[in-house]
């Protein structure tokens, strides 16, 4: 890793974190909540949340919440299968990239996430002038596509790291559990199981989203095209 890269990546990560903290700071959030005049839901302590599980209503609510998460995992499996069938090589390349340079993907994902939020705020100022609406819609679609593709790459990476074949003999022995589809499904199941853990699951899933957005943009959705072409004069 070059000296410039060693400096840029931690600096970028810190800057993006600072920007995110600024945007989500209690002062700004409370001012915004006061101006919108909508009552914020009271946050409950962890112990009281746990004690709710002892009641029938609390247990039913917890089961409903888990059912919603599992339903979303089912939707993720459907999307992952479709994307992997049509762009398996691209997903595999992005998966390799996040394993080869994880810190870079994380920094890029964090900066991109911050950029999405700030750009959305800037576009929201343009909403009264009509042009803001299509710009916001385009940004939203791009952000969703980036997140979906990136998460599928992370599923592939997680599946390959945990359940991938290490040797050629091991690969030859496997009849069903091999290939991109199987690795993606394994990743969905692994990350989905972690997602069900109350606090840690949300953190891990959010981190996976940041990594996913980073690897999707780092590899240009697995196509390896240059993001910005360098201009060079033609030589006679």
């Amino acid at each position: 890793m070059s000296r410039v890269t060693r400096f840029i990546i931690p600096a970028t990560t810190l800057t993006a974190l600072l920007a995110l903290v600024l945007m989500l700071a209690p002062g700004f959030a409370s001012v915004a909540a006061a101006k919108t005049a909508s009552p914020a839901p009271a946050s409950q302590p962890l112990l009281s949340q746990l004690s709710e599980l002892t009641t029938i209503q609390g247990a039913a609510a917890a089961m409903t919440k888990t059912a919603v998460i599992v339903s979303m995992l089912f939707v993720w499996i459907v999307m992952a299968v479709i994307v992997t069938l049509f762009a398996g090589r691209e997903v595999r390349y992005s998966s390799v990239e996040v394993r080869a340079s994880a810190l870079y993907c994380f920094a890029l994902g964090l900066v991109a996430l911050t950029s999405f939020v700030i750009t959305a705020i800037v576009f929201s100022y343009l909403v009264p002038y009509i042009v803001g609406v299509p710009l916001l819609a385009a940004l939203g679609v791009f952000a969703i596509l980036t997140k979906v593709y990136g998460m599928i790459s992370i599923f592939h990476a997680a599946g390959s790291v945990v359940a991938g074949s290490r040797t050629r003999a091991q690969l030859d022995r496997r009849r069903w559990f091999r290939g991109d589809l199987a690795m993606v499904i394994a990743g969905v199941v692994i990350l989905g199981a972690i997602r069900l853990i109350p606090v840690a699951g949300t953190i891990v899933w959010s981190l996976a989203s940041v990594f996913g957005i980073g690897t999707a943009l780092a590899t240009r959705f697995g196509r390896r095209d240059p993001a910005f072409l360098a201009w060079r004069p033609a030589e006679a």
Partner: protein, 141 residues
């Protein structure tokens, strides 16, 4: 080279392949030497590339995982007594929720947002200029 035949062989070895049988000097230079052994490569000793076996489509794994998740979700909805369609519909963002989000976003101080917009997007462009490293680190796709 000694003769015009030798020169013609050098220019187009395929068309003049018979020249090797007649010229001892060219045969010594360009002919196949049976004493030289080709390097032996043990394919199984090479590291496993990520593309090996990647095209295999394991539908049983997909079907089993999807059906298992569907069954778990259905079972949990059934046990909790909540309506699956109503609960899932309540979790989908609506237009009014997005509108309130836009209103919330516009409360941010415009100067801070403007500075952050320039700084963060400059960083993003700077980071995007780096080429992917996956191939150069031996992780073939």
């Amino acid at each position: 080279m000694k003769t015009p035949d030798c020169e013609r062989y050098i220019e187009d070895p395929d068309a003049n392949a018979g020249h090797l049988a007649t010229c001892e000097e060219c045969r010594a230079l360009f002919g196949v030497n049976p004493n030289v052994n080709a390097p032996k490569i043990d394919v199984h000793a090479l590291p496993l590339a990520s593309w090996e076996g990647a095209q295999h489509r394991s539908w049983p794994v997909v079907i089993v995982a999807a059906m298992a998740l569907f069954a778990i979700a259905a079972g949990l909805f059934g046990a909790s007594g909540a309506s699956a369609t109503d609960t899932l519909a309540a979790n989908i963002p609506t237009i009014s929720r997005l509108q309130s989000l836009v209103v919330l976003m516009r409360q941010a101080p415009i100067m801070i947002v403007g500075v952050l917009f320039v700084v963060v997007n400059t960083l993003l462009i700077a980071l995007l200029r780096r080429a992917p490293k996956g191939l150069s680190r031996g992780l073939d796709v």
